[in-house]
Subunit: 193 residues, 2 copies
């Protein structure tokens, strides 16, 4: 009888501990404290994010066209470097979801070749522009929007309005592996690696 | 006379303030607190750094050969993504020098093409290996050493010994734009941009 009571008490204690340990910890989403969130002008244009070159790099490509109908340079095309906020990166790696406020800035570079000791292949040479994919369901009906900050003179605008839905969104929605993001092209975002 | 005294006092005060403001601030080097520094096994091999994919990305290339005599794959060659510790990045951007302990890990990826919506160009597909350039004058006579963590089975070793001097160092020393680092290939490290 005493043994049974002790055993029951122990079991109750173990269950209680297990529930306590699992409850708040299992439900806790990674913190987004300190994340640079999208900011907008009074007209609703996205303000160009700064400092993104110290965010987490997710992948590069050469010659892939993200903007349909863009005028491709002759040769190998352009390099792209895609970044994400460190907080959104950790959130994605832990949950598999991109949080609201995720921004994926993309630098575009014209490749260089056969300079210095380089005899073949391509390195990133001339800065051509910067585009951003942003997830903000309060602001954009489709959840995600795509913007380019390149101006006509080859410099960068301080703010930009979203491309029309059929220019970028539709293709991302149809072909991207994870919530409009082409994670299939970004080994760094492949979870469980 | 009184005006002269006041003027002299004010000038002395301004000079004192200027000296105070300039002295410690102008001499202060950016902090390296918290930087992941190189760690070694008892045998003197560099322990593979972890977590470098959240460090600062400095540049990508496709088909450039960093290791002389390496067997290049057919086709476009391999993508490389080079990283640096955030603290070393800030230090370099402010001073133009790479601090002791700088590590530049380089991921190597086999490119993919013509998958998903991709009709042309290349994205980063299969992880091939990871190499590191490390600046540690206490450890290496030349200051910098170059190591590959790729093992024979295509996985990663936990530690690696430096390549012989003539395999990597000599070429970096001769051709790299800044202290053995090919900053000429890394727009992100071009200061004053």
């Amino acid at each position: 009888m005493r043994n049974t009571t002790i055993a029951a008490t122990l079991i109750a204690l173990i269950v209680a501990l297990a529930v306590t340990a699992q409850g708040p910890l299992a439900d806790a989403k990674p913190s987004l404290d300190g994340m640079t969130v999208p900011a907008y002008t009074a007209d609703g244009d996205l303000i160009r994010p700064e400092g993104y070159r110290t965010w987490v790099f997710v992948g590069a490509s050469l010659g892939l066209s993200y903007s349909e109908g863009a005028d491709e340079p002759e040769g190998p095309g352009a390099f792209t470097n895609v970044y994400i906020q460190p907080e959104a990166y950790r959130y994605f790696m832990e949950t598999g979801e991109f949080p609201e406020g995720t921004m994926l800035p993309m630098d575009v570079f014209r490749p260089g070749s056969r300079e210095s000791i380089n005899q073949a292949g391509y390195f990133e040479k001339d800065f051509l522009g910067m585009e951003v994919a942003v997830k903000d369901s309060d602001r954009y009906e489709e959840g995600w929007a795509y913007l380019s900050f390149r101006d006509r003179s080859g410099g960068l605008r301080d703010s930009a309005s979203a491309f029309p839905k059929d220019r970028c969104y539709d293709c991302h929605a149809e072909h991207a592996a994870t919530d409009n993001v082409f994670t299939q092209f970004y080994p760094v975002l492949q979870r469980g690696e």
